[in-house]
């Protein structure tokens, strides 16, 4: 039986009828239509489905949508503002940290979560923060450089 849940996604309220066996990743993609959140392994190992749930990055493939009732969710689509790309997004573009792009949403959200807490994170802290996000293209170096270069510039929005 479907249940009515309320989600706040990227500062916008949604009221959605979901089945208990739908994951948050499914609802964000299929019901809300925000496909920047990717589905890779679907068992919590690749991090492509990363969203920020009540301020903390999580694997949305492991959260039931019904469990997210009443909570705040930030997806990759929520980062860009009228002023343009978020500084982390801008840095990924400038440093060539995006190749196929499949891991990028999750990488940027994990990076944002780190830099919000610790704007001066060093390389070890950066590598640790994105360690739940797998990239098969870049070898991580440019991603780490992109995140490291953000903190030296203007503070994130």
């Amino acid at each position: 039986m479907k249940r009515l849940i309320r989600l706040n996604v990227n500062d916008k309220d949604y009221e959605i009828a979901v089945k208990p066996n739908q994951t948050l990743a499914d609802v964000i993609r299929d019901e809300i239509g925000l496909t920047g959140t990717k589905k890779g392994c679907e068992v919590g190992e690749c991090g492509t489905c990363t969203v920020i749930l009540d301020g903390k990055p999580v694997n949305s493939c492991l959260v039931l949508a019904v469990q997210a009732d009443g909570r705040n969710i930030l997806t990759i689509e929520g980062l860009e503002t009228d002023q343009g790309l978020h500084p982390i997004q801008q840095s990924f573009v400038e440093k060539g940290a995006v190749q196929c792009g499949f891991c990028t949403s999750g990488m940027i959200l994990s990076a944002k979560s780190l830099l919000d807490r610790n704007p001066d994170a060093d390389e070890t802290e950066i590598r640790s923060a994105i360690s739940g996000n797998l990239c098969r293209c870049t070898g991580y170096q440019k991603i780490v450089e992109a995140i490291a270069s953000v903190k030296k510039e203007a503070s994130p929005a």
């Binding site: 089945k19 066996n21 919590g44 903390k56 492991l62 640790s128």
Partner: protein, 292 residues
């Protein structure tokens, strides 16, 4: 990867959970962080008709250090454990286990109760909890009991819990005087790794420069459950700490392990590493006991 269908329950009190679990028993599974249950359901390894979420029960949250007892609610996440001042200042081993569990994303979901009741032989929290002398509170409609985690696991995925019980909290008595603990995990990578071998150690000292009082050494991933290295503990108990003594204890721990060959590593390698890790864990626990 679709989840099988199930009925979803979201009680707001422990007594309501107990009523549901008492009625549905094997037909229901409690859901805490979901990092184990949801994965196993997606893989169709289990197919419960009912899922009982514990997320809306405030009594299962929070870490409290009061009257010499550290109490950790069932739904406390690995990330909360790792960052808790109360945990860090009392039991280093537990904070160390929480810091290496899964990935940063998983640690924001996975709970202490889930990591304990899933009873995986390589899990990161049971060895430090056992070494520090933790007890679990198990509750059902007809009453509650507390069980020493050293007598909790009965095999891979198996515990002494019955299907109508839920684990509501874990508590550890904070020892007086000089003591220290440590947890070390060995894997081939830093994150999302299942231990090849892990070792937790707890040591108390009888005064500054004194002999070893209480000692517990727990070996993970080298048996069907985490196991106590009893003969290694025997080597240490009542003795004055020294490098030679730790070396003898490490050797005894290697003999206590019951490793198997699998794709992660050979039994021989694991047995060797038990010795290395035991020595390092004991050294760290002793340093902490000395400086406390």
């Amino acid at each position: 990867m679709l989840l099988p269908e199930f009925d979803f329950h979201e009680p707001t009190t422990v007594s309501k959970v107990c009523e549901i679990m008492g009625r549905l028993r094997e037909k229901a599974r409690p859901l805490a962080g979901g990092t184990d249950l949801v994965v196993n359901m997606k893989k169709k390894l289990i197919r419960p008709e009912n899922v009982v979420s514990l997320a809306k029960i405030d009594d299962l949250k929070g870490i409290v250090l009061k009257n010499g007892i550290l109490t950790i609610g069932a739904c406390v996440t690995a990330a909360e454990l790792a960052e808790s001042d109360a945990v860090v200042k009392t039991f280093d081993a537990l904070a160390e286990g929480a810091r290496v569990l899964g990935s940063p994303l998983v640690r924001n979901l996975a709970t202490i109760a889930g990591n304990v009741v899933s009873a995986r032989p390589a899990a990161d929290l049971p060895p430090p909890l056992m070494a520090c002398g933790a007890r679990a509170v198990l509750v059902k409609a007809s009453g509650e009991r507390s069980v020493d985690l050293n007598h909790f696991f009965s095999g891979p995925g198996k515990t002494v819990m019955d299907s109508s019980e839920i684990l509501t909290k874990i508590f550890i008595e904070v020892p007086q005087g000089r003591y220290g603990s440590s947890y070390i995990k060995l894997g081939v990578r830093q994150t999302l790794e299942i231990s090849l071998v892990n070792v937790a150690a707890f040591i108390s000292l009888d005064g500054p420069g004194g002999s070893i009082g209480k000692v517990r050494i727990v070996l993970g991933s080298v048996g069907p459950t985490p196991i106590r290295a009893k003969s290694a503990e025997e080597v240490l108990r009542g003795q004055l700490p020294s490098d030679a003594l730790l070396a003898r204890a490490a050797e005894a721990a290697s003999a206590d392990a019951q490793p198997i060959d699998d794709f992660r590593g050979s039994a021989e390698y694991r047995r060797d590493m038990v010795g290395v890790l035991t020595r390092r864990a004991l050294t760290a626990a002793l340093d902490r006991a000395t400086s406390r």
